[in-house]
């Protein structure tokens, strides 16, 4: 079993520089059946993975600034120019040219509505969201795709207007920094750390 500083990473000159411990091992234990016969062993350990957002990093970084970024294909030679993508796509799915990053925040505030939804009290391991979780799929005027997100208060209905909220205090730099609330929700009802 390891101890000490939990692993962190930075990049210098295009290379990962790691610091601290990235894996923890534990003693295994035997698995017996009711007759005391050995059938196997447990295999416990903790691992910290390293993950690059690459060209999607601007999306995740902008959430802390209350900005919802999308991308648009501006290649006039594309079969479908002007396609707007959110989830953010670095390259157009049709022509594979680099897309243009656009700020979708105002459009989202004015036109976002629920395309579909679901409510669950069951989650997989490592879930950090309070239950019940209300998934919503959000559509926007003029946008070709439908973003999945979390409704943070209220009960979802298809067609309801929603507005984005952003975790601006202690951001996680993940999709969990973005959530949605029904239009007209007062700021006082937002979860801790979130603002419009």
């Amino acid at each position: 079993m390891s101890c000490g500083e939990r692993g962190t990473v930075r990049v210098e000159n295009g290379k990962y520089r790691i610091k601290g411990h990235f894996h923890t091992i534990y003693a295994n234990t035997p698995i017996y059946n009711e007759d005391g016969k050995l059938l196997g062993v447990t295999n416990p350990r903790d691992i910290i993975h390293i993950h690059s957002y690459g060209g999607e990093a601007p999306f995740f970084e902008s959430l802390k600034d209350s900005k919802l970024l999308a991308t648009r294909c501006d290649n006039e030679d594309c079969e479908h120019p002007g396609t707007i993508y959110i989830p953010f796509r670095i390259h157009c799915a049709d022509c594979l040219q680099k897309t243009t990053v656009i700020d979708l925040t105002d459009l989202a505030r004015k036109t976002a509505r629920i395309h579909s939804f679901m409510v669950t009290e069951r989650t997989g391991a490592f879930n950090t969201l309070p239950i019940p979780i209300r998934f919503i799929n959000v559509e926007f005027d003029g946008v070709d795709t439908i973003l999945m997100g979390i409704l943070n208060c209220g009960e979802p209905e298809i067609g309801d207007r929603v507005v984005p909220i952003f975790r601006t205090v202690d951001p996680s730099f993940t999709i969990l920094d973005l959530a949605w609330v029904p239009e007209g929700t007062p700021e006082s009802d937002l979860p801790e750390g979130f603002s419009f």
């Binding site: 698995i31 059946n33 059938l39 196997g40 295999n43 993950h51 957002y53 999607e56 995740f60 079969e79 479908h80 396609t83 993508y85 959110i86 989830p87 796509r89 799915a93 049709d94 395309h115 579909s116 939804f117 679901m118 409510v119 669950t120 009290e121 069951r122 989650t123 997989g124 391991a125 490592f126 879930n127 950090t128 969201l129 979780i133 998934f135 799929n137 070709d144 795709t145 439908i146 973003l147 999945m148 997100g149 979390i150 298809i158 993940t174 999709i175 969990l176």
Partner: protein
């Protein structure tokens, strides 16, 4: 892509016909702690050998290359598990390859094996699939499955894959179900049917004699989907032997011609863009012009209500095999009922019913072995194996299990393979006193659909009795 070129829509033309000569399966269970994966794989291979009256050592001599379907390395905590299995099967030094396409892994394994024979690379191949989903608790299993969603944009949202299907169920219920309670009951009926059929299958993990009310009262997993609407998490293996014509008739007297095709669509349901509906041979260009009027919201295709990948797989497969109307030209289907809602969606994608009318396949009784309304044979029985809801979803094996089950009917050997009391006993299961022979009489052609993610990959496998081949169509 949202428009397709004529090159992309070309109907595959194989170099020579391909045949399935046999298949075999292990027991399927939520956990099988008493066996290593290779023991399950060898159980499946032994059954495939027995089915054609051969010893494994003799059947092995015909195999020239191997195709291994195993989706989730992290479940079994073994990278390159294919090499472990290949070694334990004693098939070195033959070439082999692992195939991973999520829930469609079994179907994709058949797809690769099929192409190896059709191209002439091999005359006899092994398509073997398995999954080991019992080496983590269920909530960690749900997280592992959710890792097949986009890890940055979707997985953190609850780590629960059922949720991605639940949003489709909600949308479909609103648009095509018109929010009617009767539609919800129709969904539940699928779970009752499939778990009931599983009672007659000794391999099946989830047999249950239940009612629609039981489904509607089962715990909510992701509203509107309830526990009994959902497929199983399984351990087990299945294999098939595919051959060219000459080898096929050396190995058995009645090989089945096999066609396998594949389609795909976005990993994230979020990325689906609007497009025109690609039409199947039993549809016409004006058929869907008023879909949005009849079902408000239904004109967004594929939206959250259809699976483009299934539609494209059927688009190729029907024309390759000469299927015009699946209701007329097929005798049974095994569909990927990961959830009751996806089963209904698939009826429309593969043309059993037009878009918007999938529920009528169940409500008419057509999907049953014996139509409960008429007492006569169902027009196109579905998932007599019990499907993923009642039999198993040992991911890498699932699509192969489906093909074997279809094959048993066409070979006329379904009863033999499911009634054997010794097999029930060997699997530690009690054969029900009301065990019923579900053989589809005079089955000549059948279809199996293998499906991944929220429709990221789908394969269509058509099996045809060689005396009942149809003429392919390229139009």
């Amino acid at each position: 892509m949202i428009t397709f070129s004529k090159q992309q829509l070309k109907i595959p033309h194989m170099m020579r016909p391909v045949y399935m000569v046999t298949g075999g399966m292990s027991k399927f269970g939520r956990a099988v702690p008493e066996k290593r994966t290779e023991e399950l794989v060898i159980d499946a291979f032994q059954e495939a050998s027995d089915f054609i009256g051969m010893k494994p050592k003799d059947l092995k001599k015909y195999i020239h290359s191997c195709y291994y379907g195993h989706f989730a390395d992290h479940f079994g905590d073994q990278l390159l598990g294919e090499a472990v299995i290949h070694d334990r099967l004693g098939l070195d030094p033959l070439g082999n390859i692992g195939i991973k396409t999520g829930g469609a892994t079994g179907g994709s394994t058949l797809w690769e094996a099929f192409k190896a024979i059709a191209s002439g690379y091999s005359d006899c191949v092994l398509a073997m699939g398995w999954e080991r989903m019992d080496e983590v608790p269920t909530d960690e299993g749900n997280n592992y499955i959710a890792c097949a969603a986009d890890k940055d944009w979707e997985t953190p949202l609850g780590h629960i894959y059922t949720g991605y299907y639940a949003v489709m169920a909600q949308k479909y219920w609103k648009v095509f179900g018109k929010e009617e309670d009767s539609f919800r009951r129709t969904m539940a009926e699928i779970a009752v049917k499939n778990r009931g059929y599983a009672r007659m299958n000794p391999h099946a993990q989830g047999p249950m004699k239940i009612t629609v009310e039981d489904v509607l009262n089962s715990p909510v997993v992701a509203y509107p989907l309830r526990a009994l609407d959902c497929c199983l998490m399984s351990v087990g293996a299945a294999c098939a032997i595919l051959c060219d014509e000459k080898t096929a008739y050396e190995l058995c007297d009645n090989p089945l011609e096999i066609h396998v095709t594949a389609g795909s669509h976005t990993l994230r349901v979020a990325d689906r863009r609007n497009m025109d509906i690609p039409l199947l041979p039993n549809e016409h260009p004006d058929q869907y012009k008023d879909l949005g009027e009849r079902f408000p919201g239904g004109d967004r295709y594929p939206g959250f209500t259809g699976f483009l990948a299934a539609r494209i797989a059927a688009y190729y497969a029907y024309r390759m095999a000469g299927i015009v109307d699946p209701n007329e030209d097929l005798d049974l289907v095994e569909l990927h009922d990961a959830f009751t809602i996806s089963d209904i969606q698939t009826y429309e994608d593969i043309g059993i019913r037009p878009y918007g009318e999938g529920r009528t396949y169940v409500e008419s009784g057509d999907c049953y072995h014996t139509n409960p309304a008429t007492g006569k044979p169902g027009r196109l029985p579905a998932n007599i194996s019990g499907g993923l809801i009642g039999c198993m979803h040992a991911v890498g094996a699932t699509g192969i299990m489906q093909a074997i089950e279809v094959g048993h009917h066409i070979w006329g050997r379904w009863s033999e393979m499911h009634s054997d009391s010794a097999k029930w006993e060997r699997f530690g299961r009690t054969k029900p006193e009301d065990w019923t022979d579900l053989q589809v009489k005079d089955a000549k052609r059948g279809l199996a659909i293998s499906h991944a993610g929220v429709g990221s990959h789908v394969t269509a496998t058509i099996l045809v009795h060689p005396d009942h081949k149809l003429e392919r169509s390229d139009s």
